[in-house]
C-alpha cells in the first residue's frame, strides 16, 4: 500500500511527531522514505537571493549550501536514521508547497506526510503572506495522493491502528477518501467508522428546523451511505455507520474522541484556498488543528482507486 512516502519537513521540532510516523511507516511497510526539505523561497523577479526558511536571512544558494542543509537534516534525524535503511534526504529551493507537489509528482509517491503547525517566527508568514502557514492547505488541495497531517504525538504505531474514522460529505473527493480508508482498514484490520455530519449551520439558514425534518434528512443520508458506499467494502464487516447533525468539524472530533480513533480520513476539496479568506475556514483545517490523532486528506482518486477495488 505504501511503496514510496514523501515526508515534507521543516526540519525543526514542529515536525518531530510527523517524523516518527514517517520513519515508522518506512520500517513497517518497507517503503522508501524521501525526507524533503524546502530551504529557500526565491524572488519573483530576477535575483539570486532566496529567503532561508529557517533563519529568515537572505542567502545566495550554491551546491555547498544545499549540502550543508542536508548535513543538518542528517543530524536532526540522527536517532531515527539509525534503524532506517531506505531513506533518502533531499533539499530544494522554491516555494514550499510547490516544491513538495513537484517532488510528489516526480517520484509518484503513495503518500505525503507533513506536520501541521509552523513556528511563530516562520519567515514566510510575513514575507509571503501565509505561504508557509498554508503550505499544508495547498498541498492537501492539489496532491494526487493522500496527505497525512500530524500535529500531535501519535501514540499508536500505524500498523496497529484499530479505529479509522472516515468523514463523508458525498463529494467526488470524499468517495476517494472512503476507498482509501477502507483499503487501509482492511490492510491493518481496523474498525472503519463511516461518518456523515448533517451541516445544520448551512441548512438552517436562520430558522430552526423541525426535529422531524432533521431526522428525515439523517435517514436520507444514511440511506445514501448504505447504497453508494457500503457495497464498495465488498464484505468487510468491521465497520459502523454514523450520521449526526451539527457543525461537521465538531461532530467529527466528537466521534473521533468517542471511538478513540487512530486516524481521521477526509476529503479536502474546497475550491477557495485564498489564505486570507480560508486560512482556517474549511472543515479539514479545523479538524487538523484540534485532532488528537493524525488526519489524512484524500482529494483525488489517483492513489485510492487503482487497487482499491478491494
Amino acid at each position: 500500500m505504501f511503496k514510496k512516502i514523501l515526508f515534507a519537513t521543516t526540519a525543526s521540532p514542529v515536525c518531530d511527531n510527523a517524523a516518527k510516523v514517517a520513519f515508522d511507516l518506512e520500517l513497517k511497510w518497507d517503503a522508501q522514505l524521501i525526507i524533503f526539505h524546502v530551504l529557500g523561497i526565491p524572488t519573483r523577479g530576477f535575483s539570486p537571493f532566496v529567503t532561508d526558511v529557517r533563519t529568515g536571512q537572505d542567502e545566495q544558494m550554491d551546491p555547498d549550501y544545499i549540502e550543508w542543509v542536508k548535513e543538518e537534516m542528517r543530524n536532526t534525524y540522527g536517532e531515527l536514521l539509525k534503524d532506517a535503511d531506505r531513506v533518502v534526504l533531499e533539499a530544494a529551493v522554491g516555494v514550499p508547497h510547490r516544491e513538495i507537489l513537484r517532488k510528489a509528482r516526480e517520484e509518484d509517491v503513495d503518500m505525503i506526510i507533513m506536520g501541521a503547525h509552523t513556528r511563530p517566527e516562520d519567515v514566510g508568514a510575513s514575507r509571503y503572506r501565509s505561504v508557509v502557514g498554508s503550505t499544508m492547505q495547498k498541498v492537501a488541495k492539489a496532491a494526487r495522493c493522500p496527505v497525512v497531517i500530524i500535529s500531535r504525538p501519535c501514540t499508536t504505531c500505524w500498523k496497529l491502528f484499530s479505529n479509522i474514522l472516515v468523514g463523508i460529505d458525498f463529494s467526488k473527493a470524499s468517495k476517494a477518501a472512503f476507498l482509501w480508508a477502507a483499503r487501509l482498514a482492511k490492510e491493518v484490520d481496523a474498525n472503519l467508522h463511516i461518518f456523515h455530519a448533517l451541516d445544520l449551520e448551512i441548512t438552517a439558514a436562520g430558522h430552526v428546523k423541525a426535529q422531524e425534518e432533521i431526522e428525515g434528512r439523517i435517514a436520507a443520508a444514511r440511506g445514501k451511505l448504505e447504497n453508494d458506499y457500503l457495497p464498495l467494502l465488498k464484505g468487510y464487516e468491521k465497520y459502523t455507520v454514523q450520521v449526526w447533525e451539527g457543525a461537521p468539524y465538531v461532530e467529527i472530533l466528537k466521534l473521533a474522541r468517542e471511538r478513540q480513533a487512530d486516524l481521521i480520513v477526509m476529503a479536502h476539496h474546497t475550491r477557495e484556498i485564498d489564505p486570507e479568506i480560508a486560512l482556517l475556514g474549511s472543515t479539514v483545517e479545523q479538524v487538523v488543528l484540534r485532532s488528537a490523532c493524525p488526519v489524512a486528506s484524500v482529494n483525488h482518486p489517483d492513489k485510492a482507486l487503482d487497487e482499491a477495488a478491494i
Partner: protein, 460 residues
C-alpha cells in the same frame, strides 16, 4: 593577470563555465579577479568608434550641465541630493571620459564605470523627460553597460544571467522539456476546478501566442495556470511555443548585445513557426521592452516591429474587460484604497498608461494615483537588474525610499504591480521598511472577481 578564470572578457557559452560561476558564492573570486583584469583600451576605442553613433555623440556634446535632470533621478533624491548622483554628472564622468580619453582607461576607472552603470542608474529613462534637450541618460547607460560587458566588467549575477540566455534561451536553467512538462502539470492540477481547461503547446495559427518569464516556470507555475484560466474564461484561442517562450532578457541588463539578439530571435522564430495573430506577454516590464520595443532592432528587423503584433498583458486585460470577454462581478471589486505601480518599461517607455487606468476603473472602487504617476512615475527602485545584484544591495535599499514615500502618501495598503521587478522591489521594501502594505499581480486579483460563465463552472 590579464584574464581571470571566472572574470574575463569571454561571455558564458557552456554549462561548465556557468557551473563554475555559480559555485563561486556571491562572486567572491570573480570580483577578486576583476581587480586584476586588464582593460583593452584599443578594443574599447574601436568599439566606441563603431557603435557610438550620432545620437549618443550629440547628447554627450550638447549637455549644458544645467542640472534640470537632477531632481528627476530617484537616486539623487534618495541620497540627500548628492551631486555625484546627478544623471548628467554620472554619464559625463563615465561615457564622457571614455570618449575624451579615447578608450585608454585603467582598471580602477572601469570599476567606477561599472559601479555607476549598475548601481546608480536603473535605465528607467525618467531623466529624459525633464532634460530640455531630451537627453536620455538611461539609454546611454544601457550603452555603457555594453562597453563594460565587452571588457568583462559586469556584475557577477548578470554574467550568469546572460550565460543562462546564451545556453538555455531563458534567464534560468529551464529546458524545453521542463517547460512543456510544467504546462501539462498545471493543466492537470487545475482542470478539475476549471472544466475544459487547456494548455495548448505549439498550436499553429492561434489568435494569441503567450510568452512568459522563466521564473514563473521554475518557481511560480501558478502564474501560468492563472493565465491559462483567464484565457479559458475569456474564450481565447491561444497557445504557447515549446521553444521561444521566454520573453525576458537579463542579457539586456548585462549589456550582452549578442545574447540579446539570440534571445529575441528565438521568440521571433516561434512567431514565424506558429503564425499566431498576435503575441501577449506576461506581467513583466523589461520583457516587453526587450522583446517588443528594442528586440526588433537587435534582430535587424527593418520594420522595427515584432513579426506579429505584440501586446503587454495589461493591454490584453484592458481589452478583455472592455469587450466583455472578461466580466467583473461588481460586488467583488476592490473596496479598499489601492494604488498602481507604473512600470517604467511598459508605461513610460511604451505609453501604456491608459490601459492600466482602464483596468483599475473596472476592478477598483477607490483607486489612488501615486504622485507623480503614469509616464512620470518613479522607478520602483529595483529596475535594470539592480534587485538581483548583491554588490549593490545597500545602494538599492537606499533608493527604495522614494517609492516607499510615494506609496505611503496615497494611503493605499494594496499596490497592484504587474511587473516582476517592481513586485520584488515592493516586497523587499516592505521587508526593510515595514510600512504595512500588500502587493499583487493582476492575475490573482482578476481571478477573485471575474464572473465565471455557467457552462465553465465545475459540477457539484
Amino acid at each position: 593577470m590579464p584574464e581571470g578564470i571566472l572574470c574575463n572578457k569571454k561571455p558564458v557559452d557552456t554549462v561548465d563555465q556557468l557551473q563554475a560561476l555559480l559555485a563561486d558564492k556571491s562572486g567572491k573570486q570573480y570580483y577578486e579577479e576583476m581587480k586584476q583584469l586588464d582593460v583593452n583600451g584599443d578594443a574599447l576605442w574601436a568599439t566606441l568608434q563603431k557603435t557610438l553613433k550620432s545620437r549618443l555623440r550629440t547628447w554627450l556634446e550638447i549637455c549644458a550641465h544645467c542640472g534640470m535632470c537632477a531632481d528627476s533621478c530617484f537616486f539623487y533624491l534618495a541620497n540627500g541630493r548628492d551631486p555625484e548622483q546627478v544623471p548628467s554628472y554620472k554619464i559625463q564622468s563615465t561615457l564622457g571620459e571614455l570618449v575624451r580619453r579615447k578608450g585608454q582607461v585603467d582598471n580602477a576607472f572601469m570599476h567606477y564605470v561599472m559601479d555607476t552603470a549598475w548601481s546608480k542608474c536603473t535605465c528607467c529613462n525618467r531623466c529624459a523627460m525633464y532634460c530640455p534637450f531630451g537627453i536620455d541618460m538611461g539609454v546611454m547607460f544601457g550603452y555603457v553597460r555594453g562597453l563594460c560587458f565587452s571588457q568583462g566588467f559586469v556584475p557577477w549575477e548578470l554574467k550568469i544571467g546572460s550565460g543562462m540566455h546564451r545556453i538555455y534561451r531563458a534567464q534560468m536553467d529551464v529546458t524545453t522539456e521542463d517547460w512543456v512538462e510544467t504546462c501539462g502539470w498545471m493543466c492537470e492540477e487545475y482542470e478539475e476546478d476549471w472544466p475544459g481547461l487547456e494548455f495548448p503547446v505549439d498550436k499553429p495559427n492561434a489568435d494569441i501566442i503567450y510568452t512568459v518569464n522563466a521564473r514563473e516556470v521554475k518557481h511560480y507555475p501558478e502564474d501560468l495556470a492563472e493565465a491559462a484560466i483567464l484565457f479559458h474564461l475569456a474564450g481565447e484561442n491561444w497557445t504557447v511555443p515549446s521553444e521561444g517562450w521566454e520573453e525576458t532578457s537579463l542579457a539586456m541588463f548585462a549589456g550582452d548585445w549578442e545574447g540579446c539578439k539570440k534571445q529575441v530571435e528565438s521568440v521571433y522564430a516561434a512567431m514565424d513557426r506558429l503564425k499566431p495573430k498576435r503575441m501577449v506577454v506576461t506581467e513583466c516590464g523589461h520583457a516587453y521592452r526587450a522583446t517588443v520595443i528594442e528586440g526588433p532592432f537587435w534582430a535587424g528587423l527593418k520594420s522595427g516591429r515584432t513579426p506579429v503584433e505584440s501586446f503587454h498583458y495589461v493591454e490584453w486585460v484592458a481589452e478583455a474587460l472592455r469587450t466583455g470577454k472578461l466580466k467583473i462581478d461588481p460586488s467583488k471589486r476592490i473596496k479598499e484604497p489601492v494604488t498602481y505601480q507604473d512600470s517604467c518599461n511598459y508605461i513610460r517607455n511604451a505609453g501604456l498608461r491608459s490601459c492600466a487606468r482602464e483596468i483599475m476603473s473596472y476592478i477598483a472602487e477607490d483607486f489612488r494615483e501615486m504622485a507623480p504617476c503614469g509616464e512620470h512615475n518613479f522607478c520602483c527602485g529595483g529596475g535594470g537588474g539592480l534587485n538581483g545584484i548583491g554588490r549593490y544591495r545597500e545602494a538599492r535599499n537606499v533608493g527604495l525610499k522614494v517609492k516607499r514615500d510615494q506609496i505611503l502618501a496615497t494611503g493605499a495598503k494594496l499596490v497592484v504591480s504587474p511587473c516582476h521587478n517592481c513586485w520584488d522591489a515592493i516586497r523587499d521594501m516592505e521587508e526593510i521598511y515595514h510600512i504595512g502594505i500588500r502587493w499583487s499581480f493582476l492575475k490573482p486579483l482578476l481571478l477573485k472577481m471575474v464572473v465565471v460563465p455557467e457552462h465553465l463552472r465545475p459540477e457539484e
